[in-house]
Point group: C2
Chain length 230, copies 2
Amino acid sequence: MAHEHIVKSFDSELARLYGELKRMGELSVRQLTDAGAILLARDAAAADQLIANDGEIDALERDVSTDVLRLLALRQPMARDLREVYSALKIAADIERVGDLAANVAKRSKVLNLSAVIPAVAGLPALIELAAELVREAIQSYLSRDAELAKRVRERDAELDQLYTRIFREVLTYMAEDARMITACTHLLFIAKNIERIGDHATNIAESAWFVVHGEAMIEARTKRDGTTG
Amino acid sequence: MAHEHIVKSFDSELARLYGELKRMGELSVRQLTDAGAILLARDAAAADQLIANDGEIDALERDVSTDVLRLLALRQPMARDLREVYSALKIAADIERVGDLAANVAKRSKVLNLSAVIPAVAGLPALIELAAELVREAIQSYLSRDAELAKRVRERDAELDQLYTRIFREVLTYMAEDARMITACTHLLFIAKNIERIGDHATNIAESAWFVVHGEAMIEARTKRDGTTG
């Protein structure tokens, strides 16, 4: 009976951890898609609000870390349980970075508002949508222990890299044509780079999901198709 | 006797972990300073070698993770011991990123070799030296449990941000004057950004060191003096 109670309690603590990760994931994806909308709308006030919202994701990451440390100390999980807890910690760190990068997109969008609209901005919604999808699916693959989905997420990161490379080149060409646009274009390049990095974090999350299921790392090397020496 | 043996064994496993972190730290700092030298020397072959070397840091991070998981499962550390182990994991992840960023500096240096020398490159050695110093001291603060050193490292990250901002602005001005230099200058901006990010990882490591000593996070907000909306 006592053992059962401990087991049940461990499961309920894990469930709490998953709830926090799920919430973090939803918030970070929303921050990312909102950052894209704000960029198109050139809405500086909304950008400031989005930057302030990032604190909520940071606080959730601290909650996850605290919960993981408590779980490790009190429950002393073994084998797969230990992998679950360990992966939760890593995934929380990746989602926190997705939030940071989304906030940085909003921050840089304010610099873009000071210049004329750069045509390549039209390519960002597709880039953001794909990155958001990869983050969403990576977290889904972890929460539903779907290793095949995790594998697909990692494979699709190459699509994001290709899209990023296309935008990167388009912006470089545009910069060369109009020196007055150099500052804005530079920030646009960093914005696109941030989104490409978000894809890397989705890949990390997918790799953590795979590790939880299989107990070992994904072996095949990921094809990196980012042609900008990213 | 049995208990003493377990305690001693835990200590020796911790010592092994510290040894791995120390080695990772040395390698990543060397990669960073070498990347700076390669950039100045415009040596593409050495850049390729440096990129290949990054695998050793990645492998060490995997060793640390494996050792931490084994330590958690077999030794079930509590309180400060648990914080030590947990921080080792976080620090290994930060050092691994320092290695990635250094390798990316080398990768982008090859693009710079295709154009004339950009005057702002002369500002990079100071930026790299400061970043390397912060990483070195951050790891030192962790290994020697020196919370005051950890605090100073975090404070000095503002110097790195200021230096980065100065280089960033210098490059932007230069780009505006010569459109043929736009591609190379863009990569130089990303190189400088990578080094500024290395400072953030040094700060993370310093915060982990503080956490090990005090059992709580550093409270005072860090002043971010990067004026490029980094």
